[in-house]
């Protein structure tokens, strides 16, 4: 796409890294935003040499003071033209509501919910300048049912789904298309990989996907201007099931999914900081 860029937050690992790779392999220039010390420079150089695209990076903790504003300043300074914004950075975690430290909620709400809104607001004028632009959010399949023991996490994803739905309707007359990916469990870090390897039955393994396959579906869907992108047949079924079932029945069936998540506490992992 000639001289425009795709900006990806949380691009150093997990789904973000896979999304950036997918875009670069399709010939898009990329701007990578990542936390410091995550070897984002190596990834950026790799994209340039492997896929012959322009790639720049910004090492910045989005949670630091005025994080999103700093991203905006960086873009203005270099006069990058942006036609794709991928609001991907986020953190997960679960457990009993009152056992998770408040600081974790503070970070989670800011990075999963507030920062995407601010970044979208700051960059929308730039995105509108091009004859076709895209904004995509990394949500979660959990957005289809607010889950106990992932109370705050699932609510941040419900927020993103609602926000992107409303914004899509609102921006319909413009050239900006809004999408949201709702992946299920994705093997983005060692903890999840461990969980995956412990599962013995095929049906349990079926629930997991690799970041690469998730990213591929998400980019395909985004470019086709789809709104909801749900990678994986199992989660499409879950999505429609929760949609048409009475909520009480959904909770009866799925409400206990994360109730044993406290076992993570005992093993010394209080909560996970998975960057998606």
């Amino acid at each position: 796409m000639n001289n425009t860029y795709a900006l990806i937050t949380g691009a150093s690992s997990g789904i973000g890294k896979a999304l950036a790779t997918e875009l670069a392999s399709r010939g898009f220039n990329v701007l990578l935003v990542s936390k410091p010390d995550e070897d984002i420079d190596v990834l950026s150089r790799y994209f340039e040499s492997e896929y012959h695209v322009q790639s720049h990076y910004l090492e910045l903790d989005l949670l630091s003071d005025h994080g999103p504003e700093k991203v905006h300043e960086w873009i203005q300074q270099h006069q990058f033209k942006i036609s794709i914004l991928i609001n991907n950075a986020g953190i997960g975690g679960g457990g009993k509501f009152y056992k998770i430290p408040p600081e974790h909620y503070d970070q989670m709400i800011r990075i999963n919910l507030i920062i995407p809104v601010i970044l979208t607001r700051l960059l929308l004028p730039e995105l509108k300048k091009h004859h076709k632009s895209f904004i995509m959010f990394t949500g979660s399949i959990i957005a289809s049912l607010p889950m106990p023991y992932k109370t705050v996490y699932s609510s941040t994803k419900v927020f993103l789904k609602s926000f992107s739905r409303a914004l899509r309707s609102e921006l319909k007359p413009t050239a900006v298309s809004i999408s949201i990916g709702l992946p299920g469990p994705t093997i983005t870090n060692d903890r999840i990989k461990n969980d995956y390897e412990k599962k013995t039955r095929l049906i349990q393994k079926w629930g997991y996907a690799s970041p690469e396959s998730v990213a591929k579906k998400m980019i395909q869907g985004m470019l086709a201007e789809k709104f909801l992108i749900i990678p994986g047949g199992l989660y499409k079924m879950f999505f429609f099931a929760t949609k048409f079932m009475p909520e009480r029945l959904s909770y009866l069936l799925f409400g206990k999914t994360f109730s044993n998540i406290d076992s993570f506490h005992e093993k010394g992992i209080l909560y996970s900081h998975n960057r998606q």
Binding site: P102, D106, V117, R121, S155, V158, F159, S162, L167, S169
Partner: protein, 261 residues
């Protein structure tokens, strides 16, 4: 409700918050008012204390400022108040195209409407679990029922509160801590909203409710154990319509309605 316990209400200087404080006092509950510095909380606190013979106290805090919740908790600890009911009422609203408001405004709105409510709830849950039976009442809105264009951020923040309440309710299913969410339609809270209701014509005027009626209904239903409290005709119809009509049809309708304006 036991007399030594207190009800904590955020944003209680005006509007629904004030009405809820008065309504709770009428129901013989002791009141702790939280509102922005510069509001006339002393007077409200005194008035309630005199009129309804309940214990009252107040604390000034800007919930969007870092550390405000720690300050509130320290105040509660120092005064040794036992809280058995939390009303997460403080919030701000906005309507219009997404680009009408600045990034700073949205940060402010979200810090108040989502962040502060979650962190205050988290800080008080331990107390609430001890001082049984206990209650959490969150403020939603008719905008909680489904995403609406031109209310993208505000509406989604209220959907967040509904979702947060749903998940919390599931977590506290087996303990005597009741979680409810009240979803009022447009409410006449100050002269500005009263005027805008008058300007919009007869149907809009009928849809508006007085804050004290919302509060009375909310507390009545809360005591009965209702989860989603729907005060007024608009809230009830919107809720049931949102349940019945499939999402894709709803999206078409919503877009039609909003673009015809």
């Amino acid at each position: 409700m036991k007399r030594e316990f207190y009800t904590l209400i955020t944003g209680s200087s005006t509007g629904i918050g004030k009405a809820l404080a008065i309504e709770c006092a009428k129901n013989n509950m002791n009141i702790l008012c939280i509102a922005l510095p510069g509001t006339r909380l002393e007077k409200l606190s005194e008035d309630i204390n005199r009129t309804y013979q309940v214990k009252t106290d107040y604390f000034f805090a800007d919930l969007t400022v870092k550390g405000s919740i720690t300050n509130i908790m320290q105040w509660i600890e120092k005064k040794n108040y036992k809280i058995n009911m939390l009303i997460n009422n403080a919030g701000i609203s906005c309507e219009g195209p997404f680009e009408k408001y600045s990034a700073d405004f949205y940060e402010h709105l979200l810090m108040l409407n989502t962040h502060a409510s979650v962190l205050l709830t988290r800080s008080l849950t331990k107390q609430l679990l001890e001082n049984r039976p206990s209650y959490i009442l969150n403020l939603g809105s008719v905008a909680s029922y489904f995403p609406m264009p031109f209310k993208a951020v505000y509406g989604s923040s209220k959907l967040f509160m509904l979702s947060f309440s749903k998940a919390l309710k599931q977590e506290f299913k087996n303990v005597p801590l009741q979680v409810s969410v009240v979803c009022p339609g447009p409410v006449v809270t100050n002269r500005h909203t009263a005027q805008s209701a008058l300007d919009k014509g007869i149907i809009a005027r009928m849809m508006h409710m007085k804050a004290h009626r919302v509060a009375r209904y909310a507390i009545k239903k809360l005591k009965k154990g209702t989860f989603i409290i729907k005060p007024g005709f608009l809230s009830k119809t919107t809720y049931y319509v949102s349940l019945i009509i499939p999402q894709f049809i709803r999206n078409i309708l919503v877009e039609k309605v909003f673009y015809s304006r």
